[in-house]
């Protein structure tokens, strides 16, 4: 099995002849267990999350004791207190997504188009792209901490080139966090773009070169539009987990100007035992992402991704 097969949604879809509704009920037998599972462990928990977000503390109760209520004020309160963190999370995720696109697109292009026809090379390059997944995500993040440490080679070179002012550091900066986010989700950017470009007919590029001559124009008018569905999928697969991630912020930032929303939710749940605020922030985060994703997909004209 190839990694390509694992990612390319679709492939040569032969368009199964849709069968008549009356034909059979077999699909419910197949769907039943999976969908029931998703309802019980996704829909119901999200409901529980919504309910929890409206809870109030038990009057006179201990810390961590809440009772059901419809306390809508939890929302304005949480947003008023944490809006800079929420905004920062989206900002970091956006920066990481753009960086991953800039780094990942040429990688996907090189593997899909330049290595076209050389099956083994293509397969090996894809293995290298997913290879980071074979080691622990947290250990790799720790490795970044080492790479960007004050006494590291990278920092020394940057000092020597005067790109980094004397005394400035990379550890515990927004740069380190965005760098970690970019790194961790880069394969999620490369693979969908690759899957899209792999299906692109190289003859179209030749036709483009024939019509427009300039490689830049060919890219702008042929390659890029055709790879757009892959780009949309890749940016979403990068952006969504990046917004909610807190491992990078905790390990590479650990500074008040790098706090991301995930850290707050985690802390409210486990350290402060403030479940309603944690739930409120989760709901806000989820709603904001849904909104952004919907608008983004509409704007990009790739509704069929849903």
């Amino acid at each position: 099995m190839s990694i390509t097969a694992a990612l390319g949604e679709g492939g040569a879809a032969t368009g199964a002849a849709p069968r008549s509704l009356k034909r059979s009920r077999a699909h419910w037998v197949l769907l039943g267990p999976g969908l029931i599972y998703l309802v019980l462990l996704f829909v119901v928990p999200v409901g529980a999350l919504l309910a929890t977000s409206l809870y109030v503390p038990v009057p006179g109760g201990d810390i961590g004791q809440y009772q059901p209520a419809l306390h809508w004020q939890n929302y304005p309160q949480a947003i008023a207190q944490f809006w800079p963190v929420i905004l920062r999370s989206f900002w970091f995720a956006l920066l990481a997504t753009v960086a991953a696109l800039v780094i990942g697109y040429p990688m996907a292009y090189a593997i899909a188009i330049r290595a076209r026809g050389r099956t083994l090379l293509q397969g090996m390059l894809l293995v290298l792209v997913v290879a980071p997944f074979f080691t622990s995500f947290i250990l790799r993040t720790i490795a970044w901490k080492q790479i960007l440490a004050d006494d590291s080679l990278v920092v020394a070179i940057l000092h020597w080139l005067n790109l980094l002012p004397e005394g400035a550091r990379l550890t515990a900066t927004p740069f380190a966090v965005v760098c970690g986010l970019t790194y961790n989700f880069l394969p999620f950017m490369v693979l969908p773009i690759f899957a899209g470009l792999e299906r692109l007919d190289v003859r179209m590029l030749e036709a483009g070169a024939d019509l427009y001559a300039s490689p830049v124009t060919t890219f702008r008018t042929v390659t890029w539009p055709l790879s757009l569905p892959g780009v949309v999928a890749g940016t979403l697969l990068t952006f969504i987990p990046a917004v909610g991630d807190y491992v990078n912020a905790a390990l590479l930032g650990n500074n008040t100007n790098t706090t991301m929303i995930g850290q707050v939710i985690d802390a409210r749940f486990f350290k402060v035992l403030d479940y309603p605020t944690a739930a409120t922030l989760s709901v806000v985060l989820m709603a904001a992402i849904m909104l952004i994703v919907t608008v983004y997909i509409r704007r990009a004209g790739t509704e069929e991704l849903l």
Binding site: A6, T14, G34, F42, P45, M107, I261
Partner: protein
């Protein structure tokens, strides 16, 4: 066998398709074009380097004779590899991760494969709702999934531990399994199942003798993906595990007081193992493809 390998050697010398731009005749091209042509591959190589440097760090530091922390290089040793369970709890956490990973993979792969077949092969009312239900968990950040599951587990007072971790891992794996297997199912000619039925195979026989063997590569890919997602998950696990410790959780918690080099050993071992499996699969697939073409 010799004939086959000779044939494949010959074939590999001949490019099956001309490259998009004529990269082959380098000499006749102006320097500017030559530089232009090499920009993308160079950039891609740097990108792959970027991906692999941290991996190299984790492997290299598995040989570090670490002190209290394993952040600076103190000298080469094989001790950590000789005694991978040397640090407290590291092997226990690893074992937990294997158990959770295998069980969640099994459940998610079975459930997800069935759903994928149904979604591609049947047209029914509620199909787009089902698709949305598959898509939503994938587009929800892990921290929200974790928080929602924890809110639910708390409200029904389920004790947190192995079972809650498996339950939550199955949840985020199912969607990826569905997407992966769906791609395979839709590339399958529906006439194959009809041909099986036409040749007297009952629906169940048609599934086991035709559909399943043909889906197997897709299912295997999905299972591998599910296992790697589960094995490496930290955020959801952190919410739903209580005091149960998986390998990523162990590493995260030790990060504050110093990660033992044994964690690097285990991680490096898994890396080499997975890499070997994938490379072998690639090579076998390549060789088989070559053989098919050369006959």
């Amino acid at each position: 066998m010799t004939a086959t390998s000779t044939a494949s050697a010959t074939t590999s010398l001949v490019p099956r398709e001309p490259p998009p731009t004529t990269t082959r005749d380098v000499h006749r091209k102006p320097l500017r074009r030559r530089i232009g042509d090499s920009i993308v591959p160079t950039f891609a190589a740097l990108g792959i380097l970027f991906l692999l440097v941290p991996v190299a760090y984790t492997v290299v530091f598995s040989f570090n004779s670490a002190g209290k922390t394993n952040l600076v290089w103190r000298g080469f040793t094989l001790d950590n590899w000789r005694n991978p369970c040397g640090a407290p709890q590291v092997c226990q956490a690893f074992g937990h991760s294997l158990q959770v990973g295998l069980l969640s993979t099994l459940i998610a792969t079975v459930l997800g494969t069935l759903v994928a077949i149904a979604l591609v092969r049947f047209q029914f009312r509620g199909r787009s709702a089902a698709n949305l239900l598959i898509f939503l968990p994938m587009s929800t950040p892990e921290v929200v999934l974790g928080a929602a599951l924890l809110a639910q587990f708390l409200s029904v007072r389920v004790p947190l531990g192995f079972s809650t971790v498996v339950a939550s891992h199955v949840l985020f794996c199912i969607s990826f399994v569905v997407v992966t297997v769906k791609a395979r199912v839709s590339s399958l000619d529906p006439a194959l199942e009809e041909a099986a039925a036409d040749l007297y195979a009952s629906p169940l026989q048609a599934f086991w003798r035709v559909t399943f063997p043909l889906l197997l590569p897709g299912i295997a890919a999905a299972a591998l993906l599910a296992f790697s997602l589960s094995f490496d998950d930290f955020i959801v696990t952190n919410f739903t595990s209580g005091s149960y410790e998986t390998f990523p959780k162990f590493v995260y918690i030790s990060a504050t007081r110093g990660i033992p080099p044994q964690a690097n050993v285990i991680s490096s071992f898994m890396f080499v193992l997975a890499l070997a499996i994938v490379v072998i699969v690639q090579l076998v697939g390549y060789a088989r493809g070559k053989r098919l073409r050369s006959r």
